[in-house]
Symmetry: C2
Subunit: 459 residues, 2 copies
């Protein structure tokens, strides 16, 4: 159903040039970083204030026009696609740092600010925001997706680092959740309910985030292993031993080949761990020694330490380029990126099984992941429009997800549900998925907020 | 409205002797640890299985009979009082450890198990469950209240340590939330919604908890300070400096006097900090040295180290007896225990203001708290039935709460809402309190789950 002209006119008078119905703007906000596709939204709006977001939602709610939040468009599960049409709210103009409260290790920001922009602002304070999903995503989008990434093993996910929110509800009411206190028992944890709700319960217009002290010493390294099992078992042993890793990433030999070719490196084509320690000089040295002993036990060899900040940045930049590097293995391809997360004791068998399944199918699917959390990804490379490949990739992804569920894991460690994981939600959640639908219907009775995502279809 | 005879008969046939309508059982489950009072429930049930809980709820939902969960009865805000009558579900017979998964550092338990019972079971595993609210509460009750306590500064609250739940919904459906994976982005965080919902959204019948490694070394100490401000400023500086305290508790001179008299100790009658470090031999020594330097800066003196486990246990046992010790200051009294939590930078002024307000009123109100989180309590001692004192205590508590809200804090750091904090919910949450009511109405349309608590009255 197209947006009624009267609604467009009212939005135009509210936003002026910050409302667009041009094909180029619509197409830009109808694109996906992965294999998902959908028609573009009917219009794109760039609000600048909470009041504008509120006015837009009030109007859209009254006229049953879908509203989809948009951060930087880096989601991998089609979260921000306008599958039911409507207006995409591009939050990029709401990107201010509102207040840094260094003594409380907190910052209040607008949702369009990206994590790299925030950390640039924080540089002089001795503090930083640790959650690092790789992409330079908007912090509102990261909260909406409950993102995590390479540092979650040490600093937690967005669940752990969002203290408070301002959220505009479907009918335009503005709600504030959480406080600036470190903890609270005063009622339902609506902050946690909103984090990970993917724009289906409200539009985030302000976030209060926990900050962390910049570590005195950071040391990073790469280490090759003769076998996938050796590398993954080393991770499990490391986590079980309690060594406080800041990052511990697995990359398989296919990913290493992709890195080498894309970033012009020459790592041995073997499974690797990329690791980082944060702490004092003394604690980092002690942690590195403990880890080194474990790595040796599991066949780790050829440690390369990134001693300078430049070398370290190069190392993590390489890791952050994993996705384009993987795509470059097969030029012109797109990817279905799997995202299961399992209990640590089940990690080695889950990675090995994924590896074998992919090999048996013959598909190209490099594996890497935030293995310190039990979370890993394979990027199943498919040719756009090749239905057979898409079908095979979906079958592989489903098998991985079912294996995760069978051992008490989850279908999504950090990428979220969007449209890509929706078909698996009933299997993971059972009755709880219906309850998510009940909550959605109660808070968004007209189903205008990112419809067609996350919860079951209505009625 | 009394429970219909037909419902009682059906419950009796389901539960046999595990349903009671005797005055003594009802009175036992109509009592409160603090100043709250209400008529007892109409009946008490002791379910033994999830299926029984489900059958009870299905029946009560059909006949509009209120159902109130009961752990060990140690809540301080009247959470488990049957203010609208109905049946109290005493969960103490569902107290099994279901599965310890040491390699994943997780345990699955039933809700009636207490935290001390769990830690006894875990002793041989090298793991422990850290959340410690003082009372030997049931873990289901701790989850329902989003409890925390002395160790939250290091290990987090129940929010951070509950991974998954089984919950029976108002209509008897059984829902499982969360997984055994360390993190998940698969949909709304219903675990976090249930933790802290105080039995108003469902009855918890199983919990999966995160465990932590027993530290290699534990060191505890008490340290006196010449002034309240010195002690509290020392805490703020300690937290800001990033020293990883396992516990850091403030007790004012009135509380010290209470301890001395109740536990036969002879601490100087000055403000004190009780502290604990967990870690390796080396890290504990380094942390203790860093803290010692800070404490000295703020006038700390007369460190007494608890070197042996026995001395350490005696120290924390004393802390855990704070509540009876405080009550003993005024024999026959009961207490209104305040529970505000503020950002660290506002802690010193909040504690000082509370101290001055209490002194100005002339009421006895010893102060102590989990100051590493910005959370502290005053136990305002009132004579049962003395309306004037109750009114004064309420006025003092409200002033503290309003001061907390004015600096971005919360009316409850860890005790929850129950009936005691309900009058302040609108002030803290505004629109969000209405949203809590909408969620409650959607999940419990007949309002049978702990009615009269936490959310606004309906209609």
């Amino acid at each position: 159903m197209p947006i009624p002209d009267s609604v467009l006119a009212e939005l135009q008078s509210l936003l002026g040039a910050r409302l667009s119905v041009t094909q180029v703007d619509r197409d830009q906000h109808g694109a996906s970083e992965s294999y998902h596709s959908a028609p573009p939204p009917d219009a794109v709006a760039w609000p600048e204030t909470t009041e504008e977001v509120s006015a837009i939602l009030r109007l859209c709610n009254a006229h049953l026009v879908p509203v989809i939040g948009w951060g930087t468009g880096t989601s991998l599960e089609g979260h921000a696609l306008a599958v039911k049409g409507g207006i995409t709210l591009d939050m990029s103009r709401m990107n201010k740092v509102l207040e840094i409260r260094a003594e409380d290790m907190q910052v209040s920001i607008q949702p369009g600010l990206t994590r790299e922009e925030l950390n640039t602002e924080l540089r002089a304070t001795g503090l930083f925001f640790p959650v690092d999903p790789g992409a330079n995503a908007s912090l509102g989008g990261m909260a909406a997706t409950r993102a995590s990434g390479t540092t979650a093993v040490r600093y937690g996910t967005m669940r752990d680092n969002v203290l408070a929110l301002e959220v505009v509800l479907a009918d335009g009411r503005v709600m504030r959740t959480g406080t600036r206190a470190a903890k609270s028992s005063a009622g339902y944890d609506l902050t946690a309910l909103m984090v990970g709700s993917e724009g289906t319960l409200g539009i985030i217009t302000e976030l209060t985030l926990r900050l962390h002290g910049q570590p005195e010493k950071i040391a990073a390294a790469v280490c090759a292993f003769p076998t996938l099992e050796g590398a993954v078992d080393c991770v499990t042993a490391t986590i079980q031993s309690g060594i406080p890793m800041a990052r511990i990433e697995f990359i398989d030999e296919v990913s290493v080949r992709a890195f080498n070719s894309y970033a012009k490196r020459d790592f041995p084509e073997q499974p690797h761990l990329l690791i980082e320690f944060n702490g004092s000089e003394a604690s980092v040295a002690a942690d590195a020694e403990s880890f080194g002993a474990l790595a040796e036990e599991f066949g780790g060899q050829g440690f390369q330490w990134a001693a300078t900040p430049e070398e370290r940045n190069a190392l993590w930049k390489m890791r952050h380029q994993a996705y384009p590097a993987q795509l470059s293995v097969r030029p012109g391809s797109t990817a279905m990126v799997t995202d299961i997360c399992v209990p640590m004791s089940k990690l080695a068998e889950a990675v090995a099984a994924a590896h074998e399944d992919i090999a048996a199918d013959g598909m190209v699917g490099p594996i890497l992941g935030h293995v310190g959390d039990g979370n890993f990804h394979s990027a199943l490379l498919v040719e756009p429009g090749n239905e057979d490949e898409l079908k095979r990739a979906k079958a592989l992804a489903r098998r991985m997800a079912e294996r995760a569920l069978a051992v008490g894991g989850t279908i999504s460690g950090e990428h979220g549900v969007g449209i890509g994981k929706r078909a698996l939600m009933a299997e993971e959640h059972g009755e709880a998925w219906a309850v998510m639908g009940v909550i959605k219907a109660a808070l968004d009775p007209n189903n205008i907020l990112n419809p067609g995502k996350l919860v079951p279809d209505r009625g």
